[in-house]
Symmetry: C2
Subunit: 212 residues, 2 copies
């Protein structure tokens, strides 16, 4: 018995906000709706306020991350695949630096808290396959190995994305993952080549992905 929200408006605003983040325009209540035809009130009906916009933006970040992880094609080599997933994680952070920063902002609250777990799940499954394939010891917990891989990727790329480390430092990711996987039971020589196979997918420093 009343008007219904138009979901197109919501996605329009989220995408515009993500775009403004990328172009480094300050995202304010008024600048966000400027030129879209919708009024400032729309922000409150769809997001409850600017906080809601940021929350939706974090969600969008995880959605894009999930989409990127989904593009990683699985091979017969689980160690390569796990590495490739970490590389995809790092690549996503580099391609959407500002959105990536927002994702882990002050208050980490998402609309769908499951989203973060879902992305981790990609890593967990690869770790599981690695254990089943005999690359990792039987007493290795796939979740723990996934978390450790995540921490390595996140630690490196966040230090690079926020400034303190130069971009070439990302190269340390391969030896670090190799060390981790070997400690999980993988054989030294095979691990190195697997990780290198997965790691070489990383976008080279000079090559920025087509801006917008």
């Amino acid at each position: 018995m009343a008007r219904t929200k138009d979901p197109a408006v919501r996605t329009l605003l989220v995408e515009r906000a993500a775009h403004m983040l990328r172009t480094r325009e300050p995202i304010t209540l008024r600048s966000l709706v400027a030129g879209t035809g919708v009024s400032t009130m729309a922000v409150y009906t769809y997001f409850g306020g600017m906080d809601g916009v940021w929350k939706a933006l974090r969600q969008e970040g995880f959605t894009r991350l999930g989409a990127r992880l989904a593009t990683v094609t699985m091979s017969t080599d689980p160690v390569r695949d796990l590495t490739a997933l970490v590389v995809a994680y790092v690549g996503n952070a580099l391609d959407h630096t500002d959105l990536y920063r927002v994702m882990f902002d002050a208050n980490f609250d998402l609309e769908d808290a499951q989203a973060a777990d879902d992305t981790l799940e990609y890593l967990v499954r690869a770790a599981e396959r690695g254990r089943r394939a005999g690359r990792f010891r039987a007493d290795i917990d796939p979740l723990e190995l996934a978390i450790q891989s995540w921490a390595i990727g996140h630690g490196l790329v966040s230090l690079v994305a926020t400034g303190p480390l130069p971009r070439r430092t990302l190269g340390h990711g391969a030896p670090m993952l190799t060390a981790l996987f070997i400690s999980a039971g993988d054989r030294s020589d095979g691990c190195r080549t697997s990780v290198e196979q997965g790691w070489k997918q990383l976008t080279p420093p000079g090559e920025e992905p087509g801006a917008e």
Copy 2:
């Protein structure tokens, strides 16, 4: 031929800002100077604006981190010491969560850019001692090992501090560092005990350090 700035005012404001950060009061131009007797203009004469306050706050964060790293007593076991330094880094991040977040905020610019390098230098020196002591291979670059240790500590604690991982996840730090040090040449059994020696300094989850 004119008035001079009183350095006490500057430190007063920085410490007050750090305190407000800790108590989660919003830091605004007016709230910062409220009750201090100084007027809003002081913020501009001493910091050039609120941006300058945040920059000084980042600097303060690195100063406190450096002070904490300096308290780590060096032993005859460089691997233990390197681990203890990472533990100190993690502990500092947990004790000053909000300041830690500010340190790696949007634009990573410090008043003294050297400060970040200085903290890393602690790790580098421990890695050097480890190599001289024969714990790490001769071809290991102490700087690289330090960066990798940093990335592990930072990755873990930042994922914990910003929300996605529960605090107990920090326990993964020990096996990760062990894997890293073994890959750098340390012997398996000795490494494990060294890392455990250094790691047990970490503040247990339940025990919050005396607030204020």
